[in-house]
């Protein structure tokens, strides 16, 4: 099978996946017990209002027609307007408002977990059964065991009284001043101020960048990111330690030692790179979970991002919003899968098409 045929087949196969995902979403939202009209008008509504809202949203149509309208709308990227969460607002607008908050949080929670968890794990693995190892391992287990919702509340309680706990150091004013612990981090540290058009193509030529806002933004996202990444950090630490231990006891390391290689070279060149292999799927997997599963942390820190939006839309039966979010998630996963498969075949000749 040629590369292009393989690629084309993958593309075709993804269509039923998307349709299936959207169908399931529709079934759960529209055929389950959730009534969007009730969520909109509340207990004081009145029958005439109900009828009118049902008509406006098209809920009085037969279910099969609603289904077709929904699928056609999604597939033609006509995402529609939110029903309940913010009626009359286009779904696209809501997505662009909410997504950056979550992505910023997810990005830092992944990054912090990697840069703390992995080095700690490697340190523990390179110095097994020492005091440092015990401390790091024990810390890792405890850290891993603390649930997010609890940790988040403790973080808030401690940091908002930081003067009491940290000898007069006020969290809000140390370093960059942030307004407080709660709320969305300012994401306007970079902006395009000028565009130039080349035919149909617009190219940004003027940029605005504020390092202070960036610093404030990072500081603001730090506590929630540490909380969200806490489990991942513990995981990475534990697995990093095991991986290093396994590698360091393998024969080729022995050989390298016998060859008289310096231990620094052994660690960096042989142990480090090989120990990363089992960590990679862990890290990448966690990254995806973190970005999707940040609802609790988002709510407790008042960030209200895409996880929160998805949750609210689901429980209130806001079909266009739930559907669009699901659609985005599905498309994202499917297309990345295809691209990765495709890249594999280019990068690694051992991966076949059969």
């Amino acid at each position: 099978m040629s590369r292009w045929r393989y690629f084309f087949r993958r593309l075709l196969l993804s269509i039923p996946v998307v349709l299936f995902g959207l169908t399931i979403t529709f079934v759960i939202v529209r055929m389950g017990p959730i009534d969007p009209v009730a969520a909109i008008i509340g207990p004081e509504g009145g029958a005439a209002n109900r009828a009118r809202i049902e008509q406006r949203l098209g809920l009085n149509e037969p279910l099969w027609r609603q289904y077709i309208d929904f699928i056609v709308g999604m597939l033609t990227l006509n995402l529609g307007q939110s029903w309940v969460i913010q009626p009359s607002t286009s779904v696209g607008e809501l997505l662009t408002t909410y997504a950056p908050r979550t992505l910023w949080l997810g990005f830092w929670s992944v990054l912090i977990a990697i840069f703390v968890g992995v080095p700690l794990g490697f340190y523990a693995g390179l110095n097994p059964n020492t005091g440092g190892d015990y401390l790091a391992s024990f810390g890792g287990i405890v850290w891993r065991a603390m649930p997010n919702f609890w940790l988040a509340i403790i973080f808030l309680a401690v940091l908002r009284q930081s003067e009491k706990f940290f000898f007069g150091i006020d969290w809000n004013t140390i370093g960059v001043t942030v307004p407080g612990l709660i709320g969305q981090p300012p994401l306007n540290f970079i902006a395009v101020t000028d565009w130039v058009s080349l035919g149909a193509l617009s190219i940004p030529i003027g940029f605005y960048f504020s390092p202070i806002t960036l610093a404030a933004s990072i500081k603001q996202i730090l506590p929630p990111a540490v909380v969200l990444g806490s489990a991942a950090m513990g995981n990475e630490m534990r697995i990093g330690r095991t991986a290093v231990l396994e590698t360091i006891n393998s024969n080729y390391v022995e050989t390298a030692k016998a060859k008289g290689l310096r231990s620094r070279a052994i660690v960096w060149k042989h142990v480090f790179r090989n120990a990363l292999v089992p960590l990679v799927p862990i890290i990448t997997n966690e990254a995806f979970i973190l970005i999707g599963g940040s609802v609790i942390v988002e709510v407790i820190f008042g960030i209200n991002g895409i996880g929160y939006l998805f949750y609210q839309a689901s429980i209130q039966g806001d079909l266009p919003l739930v559907g669009s979010l699901m659609f985005v998630f599905i498309i994202l996963i499917v297309s990345v899968n295809i691209i990765q498969d495709f890249l594999y075949t280019i990068l690694d000749p051992r991966v076949g098409y059969e």
């Binding site: 509504g45 209002n49 009118r52 009359s88 992505l103 309680a157 970079i190 799927p281 990254a287």
Partner: protein
């Protein structure tokens, strides 16, 4: 995206083992790539926040007054828009706002309003036609979610015509501009609470023709713009920004017809979580706020009752050392447990009523932030006044402030339910820790005497849907009075109106199926409601209606069809530098902030 790089270096060895997981995870990298794209769209300029009042709000859904149905949106709308009447500071007496004077005809059907001179935020002048436009939108627009407030019999009941299909005829409502400054409203039937009703958010003025969602107008803006970015009213503050689920800001309108605000604007941070709200407040990011029950300590309150029944004083010191100004006000609301009569037999309902101890509940779960409810109607709206209620509840048949387990056990045993063969039912509450806690409390008290209670939690919308389908045995809900009168709320108890098989189109009562109960109490309630309907005159009929309402309250007791739990007490805490009027029983969200000063 450092790990992407690492992956490509190390991939070859582990391909078979980790390929699937890696492919799945790579989505994260792609998602992050979009970050940069979104960020660059933002505007680098931030406004000045000097002398701006900061507070906290819940999720705002829409700033279109006919579309908003929640108090969070209502709080913002009240700053921007104005109606004919209002409840100043949320107190219970209705006062004129855009109306200068009101003339009511002898038959109580025609209201003639003379309007004040007022300017909109866009510079145009208020005219009577604006109200006609606004009321027509409320009645006719497809975006209206409160047309029943204008048209239905139990509400304002404005004159209107319907065609053969029972649809409203465009431009047929009895609201007319006599001249620029005179507005006439004609009702089908007299309504004793018409002026109170007109204070509701949906009845506010907006410039004629600003949107085109009713016949005869093209509209300057789309309805979606009006709802999110272009609200124009005559209120003391004009709209600045609204970022969904993040913040809303309004600024002072200098040409306001009343007293122009001393502050430069109001900023609401939108926060849903209790500990987040408390942290925001303790960081002094908010000037005034509420304190969640988990952080609340009743011993810190030092307050005295004023002539409106409000507790006014101080609270503190709180954890940041500050002493806060305190206002606590009993609200016109009732939270209750109720039964579906067909699902739960009368002896079981009465047994539950016997074991329920409201004082325990209010003290333990709400830290005393509420008043025990023995009647559905709260003291502030009770027929004949709060004293009459005091007298009435002396006869409460199931034991006040005590849990009568023995009596309950006897009742259940007589009905054939015992410890070994208990009656099984499920209590469904909406997502609220408070009701779940109350449910656990009740379950423990019923355990071992013949009722096995399961607890279940569901989103509000699901609860409502299931209630309308008659699928709730035992459930929790609440009712808030939109104006301070017993007339509002009792219609839901008319047994025929609680028939869930005809909901929501033909009936709109509480989810009780009380009509199916063959009992004296059920018949008594039906007769009492018929007495209410036979006496619609605002003044002369009041006493007859009051009698009937009290009979209905008695019937509710006899059949134990609903167990009122508590009336909410709303509290507001403010830092010393804020000077804000105490609010009243209609709720703090009714308050307008143009008289607030910040030091």
């Amino acid at each position: 995206m450092p790990y992407e790089h690492l992956v490509s270096v190390e991939m070859a060895n582990e391909i078979d083992k980790s390929r699937r997981t890696f492919l799945k995870a790579a989505g994260a990298g792609a998602a992050m790539a979009t970050v940069a794209g979104c960020i660059s769209g933002d505007n680098p300029n931030e406004g000045d926040s000097e002398n701006v009042l900061n507070t906290i709000n819940s999720t705002v859904t829409s700033l279109d007054p006919i579309q908003s149905t929640d108090t969070a949106s209502g709080e913002v709308i009240k700053q921007i828009y104005e109606g004919l009447t209002y409840f100043e500071n949320g107190e219970t007496t209705v006062e004129n706002l855009l109306a200068e004077e009101v003339d009511i005809s002898d038959d109580l059907l025609t209201y003639t309003f003379t309007l004040k001179e007022a300017t909109y935020h866009n510079g145009s002048e208020l005219t009577a036609d604006d109200f006609v436009f606004a009321f027509r939108r409320l009645a006719e627009s497809e975006h209206s979610e409160r047309s029943n407030f204008l048209l239905e019999g139990t509400m304002l009941n404005v004159e209107h015509e319907t065609n053969g299909d029972d649809e409203l005829v465009a431009d047929s409502i009895g609201v007319e501009a006599v001249d620029d400054r005179t507005l006439e409203i004609r009702l089908e039937t007299p309504n004793p609470n018409a002026l109170e009703l007109l204070a509701y958010d949906s009845f506010v003025a907006l410039p004629e023709g600003i949107v085109g969602d009713i016949e005869g107008y093209d509209g300057e803006y789309d309805q979606s713009e009006l709802a999110s970015s272009e609200p124009v009213g005559t209120g003391p503050f004009q709209f600045e920004t609204w970022e969904s689920n993040a913040e809303v800001e309004v600024s002072t309108f200098e040409d306001y017809h009343g007293s122009v605000a001393n502050i430069n604007g109001v900023h609401w941070q939108i926060i849903e979580d209790d500990s987040a709200r408390f942290t925001y407040a303790m960081n002094e990011n908010a000037d005034f706020f509420r304190i969640p029950t988990s952080e609340y300590d009743a011993d810190l309150v030092d307050a005295e009752t004023d002539d409106l029944g409000r507790e006014i004083g101080t609270y503190g010191p709180v954890e940041n050392g500050e002493e806060l100004d305190y206002v606590g006000v009993p609200q016109l609301s009732t939270y209750y447990f109720a039964f579906n009569a067909t699902a739960v037999p009368r002896p079981v309902r009465q047994a539950v009523a016997h074991v329920l101890n409201r004082e325990d509940l209010v003290q333990e779960i709400f830290q005393g932030r509420g008043e025990e409810a023995y009647t559905f109607t709260p003291p502030g709206a009770f027929p004949g006044g709060a004293e009459r209620r005091e007298e009435f509840i002396q006869d409460y048949p199931y034991g006040m402030n005590e849990s009568q387990r023995d009596t309950a056990e006897e009742l259940l045993a007589d009905a054939g339910y015992t410890k070994d063969d208990p009656f099984e039912m499920t209590l469904t509450t909406y997502e609220s820790e408070v009701f779940q806690e109350a449910g656990r409390n009740l379950r423990d008290r019923l355990d071992g005497i013949g009722v096995s209670l399961q607890l279940e939690e569901t989103p509000f919308s699901t609860l409502q849907e299931r209630g309308e389908n008659g699928n709730l045995d035992f459930f929790s809900l609440g009712w808030t009075w939109s104006w301070p009168a017993a007339d509002y709320g009792m219609f839901g108890f008319e047994p025929e109106n609680t028939d869930t098989s005809r909901m929501p189109t033909e009936t709109n009562g509480y989810y009780l199926d009380w009509h199916a109960e063959d009992s004296d109490a059920s018949r008594k309630a039906q007769e009492a409601w018929e007495q209410v309907e036979a006496n619609p005159e605002p003044e002369e009929g009041q006493e007859a209606r009051n009698e009937a309402y009290i009979e209905m309250e008695e019937a509710i007791w006899d059949d134990a069809i609903m167990l009122p739990l508590y009336h909410d007490t709303r509290e507001q805490f403010a830092y010393d530098h804020v000077d804000i009027e105490p609010f009243g029983a209609m709720g703090d969200y009714q308050q307008r902030y143009n008289s607030v000063t910040l030091e």
